[in-house]
């Protein structure tokens, strides 16, 4: 029964690797240093949001407001900088803005008990409205040069600084989920919230931290984005919303909660990155890139279904 079996995540990692190798072989320019470099720059902002989404999904929830939290956080930081404050206070304010949004979601979800999909559907519109009211829909731009280093600079001259930040938060997320007591409770809550309540777990505290942590990741992503694009607008990163859900789920996270691994989500993010980049390089119509992404999502889960079925039959035959 315990014969060598690859975990869901490792299989996904192999798929990502296969895609990478395939594209390297068949797409001119894919393996060029310039392209690898630009992929490294593109990865972190989306990866961070996907990780945040994953943590929420593990509790059986979803955060539809996450990209607007990022945008709001970016607006906060931008306003500080354009009003003459330094980078550091600006980042702090950006994070505080995001945490405020996360806290709002957290309170309504955990204290009032409204299903997360409803809460965040409402706060998505609400946060968007607040940003519009603050910015009148205009972009805020013109940040100090030093700020742009966060998203555009290199660490040790080769690795993008943003990638290092992403790497650090990946490790932190992994540690928190797998090794911290909060992480354990997140998984347990995701599987059965009543049982955690009856085990002396303060569910509202666990949930509150989940929404705060997701918004923190959104804020970090926002800082990288605003730095990379040197500007912020109401729709900053809005195209990442459904994609981040897709990445978390492709990465094996159970949409009903209770299961989800950092590595799975990272592999899924890589797959998305490779595919988009590769198809763009091949000059495939961008609409068709969406089609491919949708098809991969469905195909991988269909494969999972059949391989599960197969292994179940095997187990049966074996015993």
């Amino acid at each position: 029964m315990t014969n060598i079996k690859l975990s869901k995540e490792s299989v996904l990692g192999l798929i990502a690797l296969a895609i990478f190798v395939g594209l390297s072989l068949f797409t001119p320019g894919f393996l060029s240093s310039g392209n690898i470099n630009s992929m490294m720059f593109q990865l972190p902002e989306f990866g961070l949001i996907a990780l945040g989404m994953m943590v929420v999904i593990i509790t059986g929830g979803i955060d539809l407001s996450i990209t607007y939290i990022a945008a709001f956080s970016g607006v906060g930081a931008a306003l500080m900088m354009t009003n003459g404050f330094g980078i550091f206070p600006a980042i702090i304010v950006g994070i505080i803005f995001a945490l405020a949004c996360g806290a709002f979601n957290g309170v309504v979800v955990s204290k009032i008990g409204v299903p997360p999909i409803l809460v965040t559907l409402g706060t998505m519109v609400l946060f968007e409205g607040v940003i519009l009211a603050i910015t009148n829909g205009n972009a805020i731009s013109g940040f100090p040069d030093a700020y742009s280093l966060i998203g555009n600079g290199y660490y040790l001259g080769i690795v993008p600084f943003s990638l290092v930040i992403f790497f650090v938060f990946t490790i932190i997320t992994g540690l928190l989920l797998n090794k911290s007591t909060w992480g354990r409770r997140v998984y347990m809550y995701g599987s059965n919230d009543l049982a955690t309540l009856f085990s002396g777990v303060k569910n509202s505290k666990v949930l509150m931290k989940v929404y705060l942590y997701a918004s923190l990741l959104a804020a970090v992503s926002a800082i990288i984005m605003t730095s990379r694009y040197n500007s912020v607008k109401v729709d900053l990163g809005s195209s990442y919303l459904l994609q981040s859900v897709a990445a978390a789920v492709l990465g094996g996270t159970n949409i009903h909660g209770g299961y989800g691994k950092v590595m799975g989500t990272i592999y899924a993010v890589l797959i998305f990155q490779f595919i988009r980049n590769g198809l763009n390089l091949m000059g495939v119509h961008s609409s068709l890139v969406d089609v491919v992404i949708g098809a991969i999502l469905i195909a991988v889960l269909t494969l999972n279904f059949f391989s599960d079925k197969l292994s179940r039959q095997k187990a049966k035959a074996a015993s």
Binding site: S38, L132, G137, S141, S231, D235, S286
Partner: protein, 339 residues
Amino acid sequence: VSEESAGSGGDEEADGAEETDNTSEEGNTEEAESDDELEIAVVPKLVGIPYFNASETGAEQAGEDLGVNVEYTGPTEADAAAQVKVIEDLISQDVDAIAVAPNDPASVEPVLKKAKENDIHVMDWDTPADKELVDLSVKQVDDEEFGRHMAEKLVEAMGTEEGEIAILTGGLSAANLNSWIDAAQSELDENYPDIEIVSDKIPTDEKQQVAYQKTLDLLKSYPDLKGVLAVSTPAPLGAAQAVQEKGLQDEVSVVGSALPTDSEPFLEDGSLDTAVLWNPEQLGYLTVALGKMLAEGEMPEDGQEIEGVGEITVEDDGKTVIMAPPQDYTKENASEFDF
């Protein structure tokens, strides 16, 4: 929320659409054949809307006429981040020139810098990027002139210099729409002080249907409304549809930016008074033509005649090219155009 510059609300004729397909196919085969040809990348705010499809047609045509390889590609949503990725991928492809219609001028700044570092000529078209950064800036019209012109046309259509008007816009965060609206508002403030704008500009999500519903609500809410200024290509059509349905052609004037073929049914019965725009196909064509010049190390001059486009204006800075003055499409002339 998509926010193309003046995206056509229009209906390409069926054969028009087919044409587009054909050209792009040919473009692809050409690409495969010739590697030594110049490679000009044209990046719209987004692909898959009529306005930018029309520019694509023009751009591909120019590629064919001038013997350059045209790569016309952009994001499927008017999202700044997505657009930056497209440009980054183009840098990886090592094209000779990139012309971008930025969704957010500031956000493409770093990536354009990067392009220049890689010895790629950069220019903007449709919507200006950072002036310092681009080698050339292609403008369809002068924004200030365009906005003021629309306001004048509206006052003209209303036949009075007083009364209430409303302004519809494609999206609140579209920079060029905002600059036209600002220009129009200045024009009204300065020259027509008795005209009152009843509400903040109203967003229509770049959707005709939304513009239609909002206009219906406006007509009810402000029964004395005399005019609607609708900026972004689907908006005038929706506004006109509402006026048409309520039979208010004579009471309410509608002026806005729209393509002539789309506007025709509404221009006919006067529910739309004037559509103001430029020729987006020409804009695409001009962009590629100038891109080629740039890649070959030339710069355009004021008053220069560009084949297939006409005489262009170059502003004092030497790198801002203005294609043509705004064009009015009315009941009388709309049928003469095929875009």
